[in-house]
Symmetry: C2
Subunit: 226 residues, 2 copies
Amino acid sequence: WVVEAVGLTRVFPDAVAVRALDGVDVRIARGEFVAIMGPSGSGKSTLLHLVGALDRPTDGVIRVDGQDLAAVDDLDRFRARSIGFIFQMHNLLPTLTAAENVAVPMQGIGVPAATRRTRSLELLDSLGLAHLAHRLPNQLSGGQRQRVAVARALANDPSLILADEPTGNLDSTSGGEVVKRFQSLAHEHGKTIVLVTHDPVVALAAGRIISLRDGRIDQDEQVDEA
Amino acid sequence: WVVEAVGLTRVFPDAVAVRALDGVDVRIARGEFVAIMGPSGSGKSTLLHLVGALDRPTDGVIRVDGQDLAAVDDLDRFRARSIGFIFQMHNLLPTLTAAENVAVPMQGIGVPAATRRTRSLELLDSLGLAHLAHRLPNQLSGGQRQRVAVARALANDPSLILADEPTGNLDSTSGGEVVKRFQSLAHEHGKTIVLVTHDPVVALAAGRIISLRDGRIDQDEQVDEA
Ligand SMILES: Nc1ncnc2c1ncn2[C@@H]1O[C@H](COP(=O)(O)OP(=O)(O)OP(=O)(O)O)[C@@H](O)[C@H]1O
Ligand SMILES: Nc1ncnc2c1ncn2[C@@H]1O[C@H](COP(=O)(O)OP(=O)(O)OP(=O)(O)O)[C@@H](O)[C@H]1O
Ligand SMILES: [Mg+2]
Ligand SMILES: [Mg+2]
């Protein structure tokens, strides 16, 4: 399994403890394209952050590529090499250009500068953003920033891509292009994609839809891919 | 007219100057609920920021409630009293609780502390968020932050509400509730709503859809309200 969660639980302290994720079991195989849906506050971002080793569970186990994340020595290195993450709030670095933002993960694994530059421009170009390479995030529209965040997640050609509502700020055309890109990464390049979305059109482009409610899995269904 | 734009233009400097908005004429009457749609980068946020006096045009005129914004003495005060703005990137203050964030516009116009507290809790409650009043933004989900931003925009009971993709991070249920709230504010309370959205379901709830393309108005159509 590329992703295996067993009894995955995340509790946040509060006046009343918040069971943001409450015993989730999930198995995802290589090359799957999985959509995660559910009401606001149902635990989707929490699940994605646990799978992406950006947070630690309170209970239960999360394995990526067969490795228990709790037992990995260098989590930063593990993440930088194998996982591409697209955040719900894009989190571009405000003082770096679009091209420099895309290059950050490559720097993290020691890719030489000239290669970073070339690959960064290619990734931006593949999303129709080449003309924006030199811009700072505050010189971009919301949807342009979101697409730069998509390019950044693909920088190290990761085998697992975790996307938290990557089309929320996109019109149907640019959103459709991002989704087609994910489909091609899964079907033609064997990447595994886990994508959180509120958009049923996007979810139907995936092969499987997992629905969360109150921190638990409510449904887990195969879909005939659109 | 509550909103009147004549030849409204905003150019950003770049290697090639960017005509983000390129001669826009729009008139919006009191009590209208208007949706603005268009491709990523077509100028929607730029238009909203000019109407909301958060940016100045390069050319053309923008009047709100009959006043040329270029001639208003105290723009901050004008904005604080009359305009509620919901940003595409919610922009909650990270060190303030949800309730304190909602209260910020009230502080800006000198509302006493006890009244701010009561009204803030009422507004959060009306969006189903009363139990989150004491949380910091980083203790909230993306959609919860977005709805706190909606509550904040309503704090001073403004006559003009400008919303930049307020449902992008919401599931259909909570998104539908926010849209119904806007409909009621327009139809029952005479508020004027200008809402940017990529979601056709949301746009059809408005009475009119304005479509932008490359900084210009492409279409401006009345809709039979859903
Ligand atoms: N400071 C800036 N310098 C240069 N160009 C800018 C700047 N700010 C915005 N732009 C450009 O102006 C255009 C309009 O931007 P705007 O944010 O209004 O688009 P939008 O319609 O809201 O897009 P989205 O749906 O992606 O939010 C975009 O092409 C953007 O790249
Ligand atoms: N630090 C925290 N302290 C307390 N509660 C938290 C914290 N972080 C998140 N939560 C709560 O955990 C629950 C799950 O949050 P999560 O961000 O995973 O939801 P989500 O499904 O991604 O929602 P959305 O669709 O709105 O993005 C929410 O009810 C949220 O308020
Ligand atoms: Mg989320
Ligand atoms: Mg925008």
